[in-house]
Symmetry: C2
Subunit: 326 residues, 2 copies
């Protein structure tokens, strides 16, 4: 965020100017002690919170429009992973200072994505502090239809939406871990900066998928949550993992690292009975979103990685952990 | 927060160890992509978010138990101001590091207050970063019974719960603006460190009060929100403002500053028809909470401060603004 403090906006001016719009679906939106929403009959309200910290989840000089998009996208991705339909969100924002141009861009990126999903900003908090965004999102899901982590069953196929690892590939370039040719970097960078939450897919998988989650910390770690919660294991074909053309042109070890442990792609990983393959394929075709079968749930616990010949794969990395990682 | 990093807890261990308890009222609690709650028939869901930043909302060396209490208390206070019954909350937490002893205390302070109000922790997010807490709280309020800021009417009495300014008095001592005798500081300090959200009062005022809010930024600024939203004015008797014995023993100018502009007391300010005075008094008696009539809503806009003789009071301060203040 730029160091200029030319314009001293008050907290209330700031909220009014950039983040207050009339609520259409909520009973009461921004501006009171609380927002008010009405429960949808026969539905549960799905709720998720994510916090993004400067220097940790995004580079301090990130384009504010992309940051606004991403902050909401990662939260909508949690709704998608539950099969919920986005409805509303709140935003708590700590800022070193109130810079109008920067805030206008942040709001534009965030509210454009919100509008695309019919997700209203209904409340929030603004304070001075190290740049931090904390969003809480709300979505509707028909009672007992939510896609939970504890619902995988032995024999289920394991599916992945889209492609894996491009966000990690772009991040590695930004960090200087490797250098991509400019056209390749331009291809993968939007996967890191402006991820696409798979909201329509999550809703389409209601009643089809058993378990689901979004891949934010890396496939191995995230799939591990499904296995642990469902008390099952999995056999995963690392050569089947869907990858972009840019990813497929990388050295083999980097492909493994990015597809298995790269976070931030926000694709969905879900399990579904083998008898639902045609249904899943039809959903992918309707949404024009590749859905790839990458393995199967097993009764014995543990995650076993194999290659296309069925031989064990020696990958030893793990998911991202905010406290274990440097 | 202490600088020790002796124990490296993983993010998942940390959540499990300190912040995961079985959900009783929620359909699904901590541990999935989203929490799930069910709407209460005939009720609206009240939602509020507050963010607390180290060095801004609390001293970096604050006792973690008090911090845990306060972080939830200020959010419950928003539910109280709406007349809502607490139900659940989410916690997003950025920490410089995961220090088990400190986290255990934070959780203890927060969850004790949560239990006292039947408010379940249903989800959250943990990350490394500058110490920041962002909570979102959920409460139930019968449809059309919420105490909104835009509902004050000319002729209404203005009421204040408890006493005003003690939190500001304690803060001034901590900041070296003034020095209180030790027994006085001990009296007022809990008002700053562990405020009491007026939840039972908010619920009791349903159908009695017109407008309400909680005083977090100072009475003048906060009452101003009611006046602006309701398009009315007010006449406020500064000598009638309820104050503790310690406050009443302070120099006159300091009393004015603390009671009119001191934030962080989290008392309720509400308006009610003059015909409801007995009802309000009965509520105060039942809850053993002083409720003091301090002025009246007027049709002409603007806030006029007078003393007990009815002469204008020359106070020129204003409410707290996170960006206008240093």
């Amino acid at each position: 965020m730029p160091a200029s403090s030319s314009a001293q906006l008050s907290e209330f001016d700031l909220i009014r100017r950039f983040f207050t719009r009339p609520a259409h679906k909520a009973v009461l939106g921004v501006g009171d002690d609380c927002a008010l929403i009405e429960g949808r009959p026969g539905h549960h309200l799905a709720i998720s919170t994510d916090m993004l910290v400067s220097g940790r989840h995004f580079f301090p000089d990130v384009a504010p429009r992309a940051l606004g998009h991403k902050a909401l996208a990662v939260n909508l991705s949690d709704l998608a992973a539950m099969g919920a339909e986005p409805r509303a969100f709140t935003l708590a924002l700590a800022l070193p200072e109130a810079e109008p141009g920067w805030l206008a861009e942040l709001a534009a990126g965030m509210l454009a994505l919100a509008d695309a999903h019919g997700c209203e900003l209904i409340g929030g908090d603004t304070t001075r502090g190290p740049l931090t965004l904390s969003l809480t999102v709300f979505g509707d899901v028909p009672a007992r239809m939510a896609l939970r982590r504890d619902a995988a069953r032995a024999g289920d196929d394991i599916w992945i939406s889209g492609t894996l690892g491009d966000a990690r590939l772009a991040l590695g370039d930004c960090r200087g871990e490797w250098l991509l040719p400019e056209p390749d970097f331009s291809q993968v960078r939007p996967r890191m900066d402006t991820p696409t939450p798979r909201v329509a897919l999550g809703m389409a998988l209601r009643g089809v998928a058993h378990a689901a989650l979004d891949i934010s910390d890396g496939l191995v770690g995230d799939l591990g949550h499904i296995l642990e919660r469902s008390q099952v294991g999995a056999l995963l074909d690392v050569d089947a993992l869907p990858r972009s053309e840019v990813m497929a042109s990388q050295p083999e070890a980097r492909q493994l690292e990015c597809t298995l442990a790269g976070g931030d792609d926000y694709e969905l990983c879900f399990t579904a009975p083998a008898g639902s393959r045609d249904t899943v394929a039809a959903i992918g075709a309707r949404l024009r979103l590749p859905l790839t079968r990458v393995g199967a749930i097993t009764p014995e616990p543990g995650l076993r990685l194999v290659n296309r010949e069925g031989n064990p794969c020696a990958y030893t990395g793990s998911g991202f952990d905010h406290f274990a990682s440097p």
